[in-house]
């Protein structure tokens, strides 16, 4: 509480020079206070843990020029609204709302604090002081899919999802598109379990899929449960999600998709410090280091590592975009003609499955 509200209401001369467009104006600061709200606990080994690592990254890089605070286990609803105002009132200059379900609250609260910069993860409603940020996790999925395509013996993969939102659908599609570049007959079975965090249910979903013939598993839920089941059953492998989960299944994790929010959080905090923050709409990926791949597992052979690396570097230098046509949907209808790449807007509202995805119930 070293920084008082004095600083946060101070609107400096730099802001006066800006044309008055009804938008907010930001002053240079000597120290920035950054608030984070998490939908789950920072100890979830996955999504929220990764966001918190991003917070620590900012602290590490800005030292005494930053102070961070966070609130965990914030329900998506009016409670979030209150926490956002609490953070703003505590003097935060920059607030990250790290879950889709916080969107309504951000839209309501941000206008009350025009001097505070808000950033909402994975959302779609922006505003004069509301920036949006997201990460191209599907790029990581494509790397995982490449490995699965090479290593699976049955050509059948399982995918545990929470809810069929575009973010999840996109990941499933990217995974199988990459896998089918290696094995054109590969199929993937998504199972939605309607929760982000019920480890026992995730584990049972993994068992149900393994018992029915899949030998590579991926998941879009918060914890390492599915990966642990993969290890227990001795199938070909699985992937870490959100964070490197090799501690949970050292033999079985083929690689991991690591949410590396740190660079984005640092850039935003620096922009606020410099008084140059503007509400952006960033969607960064492997290239910007916001999505990272974990270490390749010991059992991944050198040629597969090479193929995975080619997929990774191809997406970094822009030569590969996994959503480039021809792409058929899983009823055989061509959705993306050859040579065309889906736009970001199309990706962000994706509600259909590509060929190779068994239609989930």
């Amino acid at each position: 509480m070293t920084l008082s509200r004095r600083n946060f209401v101070k609107v400096g001369g730099a802001a006066m020079a800006l044309p008055l467009l009804g938008s907010s104006a930001f002053a240079q600061l000597e120290k920035v206070k950054v608030g984070f709200i998490y939908v789950g606990t920072i100890n979830d080994n996955g999504y929220n843990y990764a966001h918190n690592q991003g917070r620590l990254y900012v602290e590490e890089h800005l030292g005494d020029k930053v102070e961070t605070i966070y609130v965990e286990n914030v329900p998506e609803g009016p409670d979030c609204e209150r926490v956002l105002r609490e953070l703003a009132q505590q003097g935060c200059n920059l607030i990250f709302a790290t879950s889709f379900g916080f969107g309504d609250s951000v839209v309501k609260v941000a206008p009350q604090f025009p001097d505070v910069a808000f950033e909402h993860a994975t959302g779609y409603m922006s505003g004069p002081n509301i920036g949006l940020y997201n990460a191209r996790f599907y790029e990581g999925r494509a790397v995982c899919g490449t490995i699965a395509g090479h290593m699976s013996e049955t050509g059948k993969y399982g995918y545990i999802g929470s809810f069929p939102i575009p973010e999840v659908v996109m990941g499933i599609n990217a995974f199988v598109l990459a896998a089918r570049k290696v094995n054109p007959d590969a199929t993937i079975k998504p199972v939605y379990i309607s929760t982000w965090n019920d480890p026992a249910k995730e584990a049972d979903a993994a068992r149900a899929m393994i018992d029915q013939g899949i030998d590579v598993i991926a998941q879009h839920t918060d914890g390492p449960a599915a990966l642990q089941v993969a290890a227990e059953r001795g199938i070909v492998g699985g992937f870490g999600q959100g964070a490197d989960m090799s501690a949970f299944a050292p033999e079985t994790q083929l690689t991991a998709i690591i949410d590396h929010w740190g660079p984005h959080y640092l850039a935003s905090a620096e922009a606020v410090l410099a008084g140059t923050w503007v509400p952006g709409n960033t969607w960064e990926g492997l290239k910007e280091d916001v999505v990272q791949m974990g270490p390749y597992g010991a059992k991944v052979p050198a040629d597969v590592v090479a193929a995975a690396e080619a997929m990774r570097t191809g997406q970094i230098d822009g030569s590969v975009h996994i959503f480039t046509g021809p792409i058929n949907d899983n009823t055989g209808v061509e959705r993306v003609p050859a040579g065309t790449t889906m736009t970001d807007a199309e990706l962000l509202s994706m509600d259909w499955y590509v060929e190779g995805v068994e239609q989930p119930a």
Partner: protein, 360 residues
């Protein structure tokens, strides 16, 4: 020196009101000690959780908004519990009330008119009532324990939300996320204090508490509830049908839980989302007990619980106290309160030990 409990001839009015205050005070003292011992700033935790929300005027609006549903549900439960009817499924009735209101809001989407909100409120109360009627029917017709049925129905109701917002009621513009569309303006609860988040539900909660207090103390209905709860045999002689009382208790508490649900969805939420069930129905059970099953007490207790929620978040941001600590403080408060209940009917007597007599 030894102590023994001795039954009082009359329940102590002093203890009735002193024990909740003592419970809160003890929670603060013991909480400060425990959290200091395990390496947190214990005194700071108590200060931020219990005092900051009161001393910081900016937080008052949050207290009102958080306390409103707790008070409305808690008042209904206090009436039912007075009659010895143990409706613990208020969470489910709250959910169904919210869903009924949502149904009206979606049906009237894009329309305007003053009648939409009252219709939603009516639907919400009827929804909560209908859901509470199931345990009432089973209890009166088949003698099935209402604690168990109302609890089971709560878990089923949460699944109904998930189903509706995932499939038939899903927002067509919501990027596939399981939630309904934002209600149109006419289906949203108005704010009553400009520049704050205080919506119409907050004064409604206070009015509900006052009206309930008046009815419980001044009307035949209130008399019936209290007599049936306190002395069921006497009540039967007095001509009060037990079945009718059970029905009344469940319908009133269900209607109020439903009212809280519809006010919550039309007020702070403005759409139905998966996070709608926030355990208000269960927390209100604590509120009802903390408020001594007295509607005026419930108003105070609702605010006290709201303070711990709001303060718990303050403590996270200011002294880094983990979210889990809030639950521990709330549980401790209830433990102390329940422990103190015995002092209402019994007094502690010091016994001079006599060699010939064992301990009582």
């Amino acid at each position: 020196m030894q102590f023994r409990l001795e039954k009082r001839r009359e329940p102590s009015q002093f203890m009735l009101y002193a024990t909740p205050v003592a419970a809160v005070a003890l929670t603060m003292i013991v909480g400060a000690i425990i959290f200091s011992l395990i390496g947190y700033d214990g005194v700071g935790a108590v200060r931020e959780i219990f005092l900051t929300p009161l001393t910081n005027a900016y937080k008052w609006q949050d207290l009102g908004v958080k306390a409103a549903p707790l008070i409305i549900i808690g008042v209904g439960l206090s009436i039912a519990y007075r009659a010895n009817v143990w409706n613990i499924g208020a969470e489910g009735q709250y959910v169904i009330g919210g869903l009924a209101g949502t149904g009206i809001a979606l049906l009237t989407y894009g329309m305007t008119g003053w009648w939409i909100l009252p219709l939603m409120v009516l639907a919400g109360m009827l929804g909560g009532m209908a859901y509470a009627a199931i345990p009432a029917l089973l209890r009166t017709r088949l003698n099935v324990n209402e604690i168990l049925t109302s609890l089971m129905l709560t878990y089923a109701s949460v699944q109904l939300i998930y189903y509706l917002i995932r499939a038939p009621w899903k927002d067509p513009m919501g990027m596939g996320f399981p939630q309904t569309r934002l209600f149109s303006e006419a289906a949203r609860l108005p704010f009553i204090i400009p520049g704050t988040i205080v919506h119409l539900g907050v004064p409604i909660a206070v009015v509900v508490g006052l009206v309930a207090w008046f009815i419980m103390t001044r009307s035949v209905f209130g008399y019936r509830m209290r007599v049936v709860g306190a002395a069921p045999h006497a009540a039967r002689y007095g001509g009060f049908s037990e079945h009718k009382t059970i029905w009344l208790a469940l319908l009133v508490s269900g209607a109020l839980a439903g009212l809280a649900g519809v006010l919550e969805v039309a007020g702070p939420f403005q759409r139905m989302v998966p996070g709608f069930p926030t355990n208000y129905g269960f927390t209100a059970i604590i509120v009802a007990f903390l408020g001594r099953l007295n509607p005026l007490g419930v108003i105070v207790a609702g605010v006290v619980l709201a303070i711990t929620f709001v303060g718990g978040e303050v403590a996270q941001t200011t002294i880094g106290l983990p979210n889990a600590a809030t639950g521990i403080f709330q549980a401790m408060m209830l433990f102390f309160l329940l422990a103190g209940d015995i002092l209402i009917k019994y007094r502690v007597r010091r016994v001079v030990p006599q060699p010939s007599q064992g301990a009582a």
